[in-house]
Amino acid sequence: MNKIRVLIADDHPVVRRGLHSMLTNNDDIDVIGEAEDSTQALSQTDKLKPDVVILDIRMPGSSGMRIIPHLKQLHPEVKVLMLTSYDTDEHLFGSLNLGAHGFLLKSVAHEELAEAIRRVHNGERQLSKRLVGRVLDEFETYAKEVSRHKTGLSSSHIEILQLIAEGYTNRKIASKLHWSEITVKRRISEILAQLNVNTRAQAVSEAMKRGLI
């Protein structure tokens, strides 16, 4: 059986040693090298040709995220698994955008890490469990945005639709949004035209059907 060859890139020796110690217990995983910064991570990948690079984000010099594109370009076959203690959107979505195959938090348990290494090695993408919801939320927002874009409605149109759906009258909408009632009426007739319907109720049901609200 071919072992999965892993390179660990993290600036803390204690973390590298710990990961090494933890992963050694898996018969199918072999830690073949370590790197203490992004530059070393690139050169060690060149030299050792690992299957999976475990990459910390915050390291002295340049961030782990910045070398993802280089790794992917120079070694398309190498899988990149981010392992970080930062769970912010910027790091999560940033890494995924740049093409990281997995994103794990450092609070990861041993089995979860080993399993993630196997999965990304197999070509799957892998996330820490508590991040999955966030990615789905982001996708939902994105999907709604795309859907809205197709209808030609603006974000204030959507806001009005939401208020109508919550049972607001035109006057209440006007006072809530600090507009005149005339403006609200004009916006609503724009919505009806864009959605190709005749009544407020139809507009709400159409908007729901299209996933706008």
Binding site: H12, V14, T24, S85, K106, S107, H110, L177
Partner: protein, 413 residues
């Protein structure tokens, strides 16, 4: 009786002039306006050739000529004379010293007269007194022998009491204004200092939080991983060792979570990368979990990107507001509302708790938390409002001009 009648001004016109002059000057509150006005009005009304107002300078025990009118007036401004009965004090020095008027109908016959203008022949000096204290002297001169008389002494003495009050008022008013300006200045300095201190404190907190995160937490993770590795390599029969190690792991995990909490209190890291609203949502969720008080965030209008300084300020303001809700309000529900308007951003924290006498607390400056919330908002150009009634909940509100808090991101950034 005959003497008194003789001293009385003859015409009603003179009485009227005294009255009007006194009226005019008593309305001025500024010494640098008042004194020239006095000498001007009096000289013109009573036709003196030269006139001066001298004020007592207590530090030096001297009289200083503060305003002049008539002949060679520029020459005498700022002139100083000692307050003494000796001849070197001149006529005015004597008057200030004795607190009584002195009329010299022919200066050539007086050994006190100090000659300043060649043509002068008679001089009258009258003290300006507040109760028994001499605060200055008015001095009038004429080119004629007997150009000033007992009648002038009577008029000027009558005026002097009015002038003294006006001068004293103006002086007090000036002192007050200076004190007020000084206090304003100090208050501004204090406000700037506070703003700077708060900024420095936030920078420091930020740095410490990042340091802890980048060093301590990483070390604990390393140790955790290592124990995990060792755990798996232990032979099956090492039961005691295994449970010992698992205890170590539990402790390490606790350590991580405690450190995260401490780091979060120092600086909500999510603020930097996720922005204000996700951080607030996370904060609200935790608050709800800790307190069982329903917490919601509502956003109206199109949100802007915040400048980092505004972002941490707003986050701290809301944190402080929630802290108050938890501590005092006994609320069931608390609501954060952001309203993004064309040029302003309004933020409110409303609770349905027991409320309090907000205006009183703010007016009496007893509630430092409220004051600091106002100051912090003002530091980034905002205003703070509070509405609360006993039994009807509390609304804390802030309003910021958009341009003060919005981060404009350039396209190529």
């Amino acid at each position: 009786m005959a003497l008194i009648e003789q001293q009385l001004p003859k015409s009603a016109l003179e009485l009227e002039l005294i009255y009007q002059t006194a009226q005019h000057i008593s309305q001025l509150q500024n010494l640098s306006e008042l004194l020239p006005r006095i000498v001007g009005e009096v000289s013109r009304t009573f036709n003196y050739n030269s006139m001066g107002v001298l004020l007592v300078e207590q530090d030096t025990n001297e009289l200083v000529v503060r305003a002049t009118f008539g002949m060679e007036r520029e020459k005498h401004l700022g002139f100083r004379l000692p307050i003494t009965s000796a001849p070197k004090g001149g006529i005015v020095g004597w008057v200030a010293y004795c607190g009584r008027p002195l009329l010299v109908t022919d200066v050539r016959k007086s050994d006190r007269y100090i000659k300043t203008i060649e043509e002068i022949r008679s001089e009258l000096a009258v003290p300006l007194k507040i109760r028994d204290r001499v605060i200055g002297v008015i001095d009038v001169q004429s080119v004629l022998v007997d150009g000033v008389t007992e009648k002038d002494k009577y008029i000027l003495t009558a005026l002097a009491s009015q002038i003294a009050i006006a001068v004293e008022n103006a002086r007090l008013y000036e002192e007050l204004r200076e004190a007020h300006n000084e206090i304003q200045h100090k208050a501004n300095q204090l406000r700037l200092l506070l703003a700077r201190t708060v900024d420095l404190q936030e920078d420091e907190r930020h740095r410490i939080a990042a340091d802890i995160h980048d060093s301590v937490i990483q070390l604990v993770y390393g140790a955790l991983y290592e124990t995990e590795g060792v755990l798996h390599r232990l032979p099956d029969e090492a039961v005691t060792n295994r449970s010992d190690l698992q205890n170590v792991q539990t402790t390490l995990k606790q350590a991580v979570s405690e450190i995260y909490k401490a780091v979060y209190d120092l600086w909500p890291a999510s603020l930097d990368e996720m922005g204000l609203f996700p951080s607030l949502n996370a904060y609200l969720a935790q608050f709800e979990k800790d307190t069982n008080i329903h917490s919601n965030l509502r956003i109206h209008g199109t949100p802007i990107r915040f400048m980092p300084r505004a972002r941490i300020t707003i986050f701290r303001l809301i944190q402080e507001a929630f802290h108050n809700v938890r501590k005092h309000a006994q609320a069931k529900q608390v609501l954060v509302i952001f309203k993004f308007r064309a040029s302003r951003v309004q933020i409110q924290v409303r609770d349905d708790g027991m409320g309090f006498e907000a205006e009183q607390a703010l007016a009496e400056q007893t509630h430092l938390g409220l004051i600091s919330m106002r100051e912090r908002a003002e530091n980034i150009g905002g205003v703070f409002k509070i509405k609360s009634e006993i039994g009807r909940g509390t609304m804390l509100g802030w309003e910021f001009p958009k341009r003060q808090i919005e981060r404009i991101v350039k396209k190529d950034e």
